[in-house]
């Protein structure tokens, strides 16, 4: 089984800094980690490979430094890593990202299954996986919590819903996005870490994958971010102590002094 796992670099911190001119995330100089949801995608890819044989390729689009994160996926057991990196890709929204990734998948070729994390922890859109499937013309299932069966040309998986799960069958090739319930990601192994150290990370430009630059990056992004800001939390809170009756009394007194019409 030929598996591609999509991996995104996200800031390893909650304090995300934005570029005020382009309204995009500043990724330079910030500790970068693999999007935590993607680590489950990698693990699932490796497990399927162990079961069916084949290859796992990690695919990302990003700045050149992402190559080092991709290297760490080889330490986990991924066979090969591909980074799509080109100035033309800069400022991409989810549509332009999905387009570039789809061209990358085309170039990798003969792919049976693409696995993505359910969403990235920075943008939280959960759009790239499904968009990638649409661009490729593959079926897709989101929020997969278990793969019940996978074989040549066929996958049956459990899709998590709010009150249970659905069982979805699809022909392959297909795209799935996975939730953290699906597995427990492994740690790297020494032999794979050594392989990773020497591994060549393939870096492909827009030309390499035959992408139309008008559909890439800012140019290819219909999403226009007009303004971004970090919300300021100014609400003052106060804990009211005591047992329930005491608390209710104190709360009522407080509300009465606040002159809310409803309490009047």
């Amino acid at each position: 089984m030929n598996i591609v796992v999509c991996v995104k670099q996200v800031p390893g911190t909650m304090e995300v800094k934005m570029n005020k001119e382009t309204n995009t995330i500043i990724r330079e100089g910030v500790e970068a980690i693999i999007n935590p949801f993607d680590t489950y995608a990698i693990e699932e890819g490796l497990r399927i490979k162990e079961q069916t044989g084949g290859r796992v390729t990690a695919l990302s689009m990003g700045i050149p430094a992402v190559a080092e994160l991709l290297r760490s996926t080889i330490g986990l057991g991924v066979d090969e890593a591909v980074l799509l990196s080109d100035r033309a890709f800069a400022g991409a929204d989810t549509l332009a990202t999905a387009y570039a990734l789809s061209k990358g998948v085309d170039k990798i070729g003969n792919v049976d299954l693409i696995i993505c994390g359910k969403q990235a922890t920075d943008g939280d859109t959960a759009q790239v996986g499904p968009s990638l499937a649409e661009k490729l013309g593959y079926p897709h299932t989101t929020y997969v919590r278990k793969i019940e069966e996978i074989r040549d040309g066929y996958i049956r998986c459990q899709r998590m819903t709010e009150d249970g799960y659905e069982v979805v069958e699809m022909p392959l090739p297909a795209v799935i996005t996975v939730v953290k319930e699906i597995n427990e990601p492994r740690l790297p192994s020494l032999k794979n870490m050594m392989r990773a150290k020497k591994a060549v990370i393939n870096v492909w430009t827009a030309d390499d994958i035959g992408a139309d630059k008008n559909l890439c990056g800012l140019k290819g992004s219909p999403t226009q971010v007009v303004k971004t800001f970090v919300p300021v939390h100014e609400i003052e809170s106060e804990m009211i102590e005591g047992d329930a009756a005491e608390q209710a009394k104190k709360l009522a007194e407080k509300l009465m002094t606040m002159k809310f019409p409803v309490c009047g």
Binding site: R186, L187, P188, S189, L190, K191, M193, M194, K197
Partner: protein
């Protein structure tokens, strides 16, 4: 401090540290409390290829030496000195095979140990054979193509959990220590059973048991080296594995030190963090000095051994004594820095203090180590 580790050694250290932080630290207190053997952690170690770091490449290992083993033990012990012992105790049981096994024995046992499929243990100590190892009573008598073992080994690390045991028994009583021989005994051999599991002060996630041999018949091919070599097998093995105990002590001390520093910065008394008080600062500084000195001695001893040195009993004993005495002092001081909280089981340092104690006792008490060191010194000086 930069110890100029090779890229590979650095990787081993980082990987072991990652396992310690992510997998061991969260369960250390629970496993200690329950005395639970860390099968799950050993599986993680096996999957990460760390089990074979000190085993030659031709037998499925990584081809490293004592330093590689020590790096793993140190990092695992930072999180738990008991859990790390499943790995370190296997090293102790494996070195007799690495050092004295013939090719057939190595082919048979080392690959499974290197892959983490099997654990090993070393059986020397008996009720009457502690510091005086020559007091071994367990016997092995050749009967046709088999040796018949009888006797009881005591306080054996990994006892009952290991699959492969290297055991020292007496084959010729009249020859004293020269009448000992070393054997490989597999778990499941008829006549080989395990006695009670000990209830210990520390290293409680490690399993310590009796090995009981009652007319246990093993093929004569399981003899290591030759008859009469048992004492030498044991001593040469212990010379190589003492730095492992030292590394365990070093890791325990490092872990306790880190907890003490972290706590001292959070704990506020008299309106400021206690780390701002000189009384605490000096304790922390002393801990750091002793740990670094300990690490320098342990790593250098490992390198000395790995360089192919012939005689290193003294250095091996020195690093074990120094690192274990340091661990006892540092962990005790860590409890002091944490004060009342340090004495409570909810905090991790009292466990480290309990774990540290054994490193002054096993694989040769520190008093016996000082005998070894002094004897070597006197020998050296009488040559001059």
């Amino acid at each position: 401090m930069n110890y100029f580790l090779t890229e590979e050694q650095q990787m081993i250290k980082e990987l072991a540290a990652k396992i310690a932080e992510e997998k061991i630290a969260p369960v250390a207190i629970q496993y200690d409390e329950e005395g639970k053997f860390p099968h799950d952690i050993m599986k993680v170690l096996a999957d990460s290829d760390l089990c074979g770091v000190y085993i030659p490449e031709e037998y499925g290992g990584l081809g490293g030496g004592i330093l590689e083993m020590a790096l793993v033990v140190e990092e695992l012990s930072r999180a738990c000195g008991g859990i790390s012992l499943a790995f370190a105790g296997t090293g102790l049981g494996t070195f007799p095979i690495i050092l004295f096994g013939n090719d057939e024995q190595k082919q048979k046992y080392l690959p499974d140990i290197a892959s983490g499929k099997k654990l090993a243990a070393f059986g020397l100590t008996e009720a009457d054979a502690g510091s005086d190892a020559a007091g071994v009573r367990t016997t092995a008598v050749l009967d046709g193509d088999e040796y018949v073992l009888n006797g009881t080994k005591q306080w054996i690390t990994n006892g009952g959990e290991a699959d492969v045991y290297t055991v020292v028994a007496c084959t010729n009583r009249s020859k004293g220590a020269r009448g000992f021989s070393a054997f490989i005994v597999e778990k499941g051999t008829p006549g080989f059973s395990f006695g009670k599991k000990e209830n210990k002060m520390g290293i409680r996630a490690s399993c310590t048991s009796e090995l009981v041999f009652e007319n246990c018949r093993i093929p004569k091919e399981n003899l290591l080296a030759r008859e009469g070599m048992g004492f030498i097998v044991a001593m040469k093995t212990l010379d190589r594995t003492r730095p492992g105990v030292a590394a365990q002590a070093l890791g325990i001390a490092q872990g306790a030190f880190e907890e003490a520093v972290k706590y001292s910065k959070q704990r506020v008394q008299f309106g400021q963090p206690i780390s701002s008080f000189q009384a605490i600062q000096h304790i922390l500084a002393d801990m750091a000095i002793q740990i670094e000195a300990s690490r320098a001695l342990v790593y250098q001893t490992c390198r000395f051994i790995d360089s192919g040195a012939k005689d290193f009993s003294k250095e091996s004993a020195m690093c074990k004594v120094f690192a274990s005495d340091t661990a006892m002092k540092v962990t005790t001081d860590a409890v002091q820095v944490l004060g009342g909280y340090g004495y409570m089981k909810e905090y991790p340092v009292e466990k480290k203090m309990r774990d540290a104690k054994i490193t002054q006792i096993y694989e040769g008490t520190n008093q016996i180590q000082r005998n070894v060191i002094a004897l070597e010194l006197i020998k050296e000086f009488s040559k001059k």
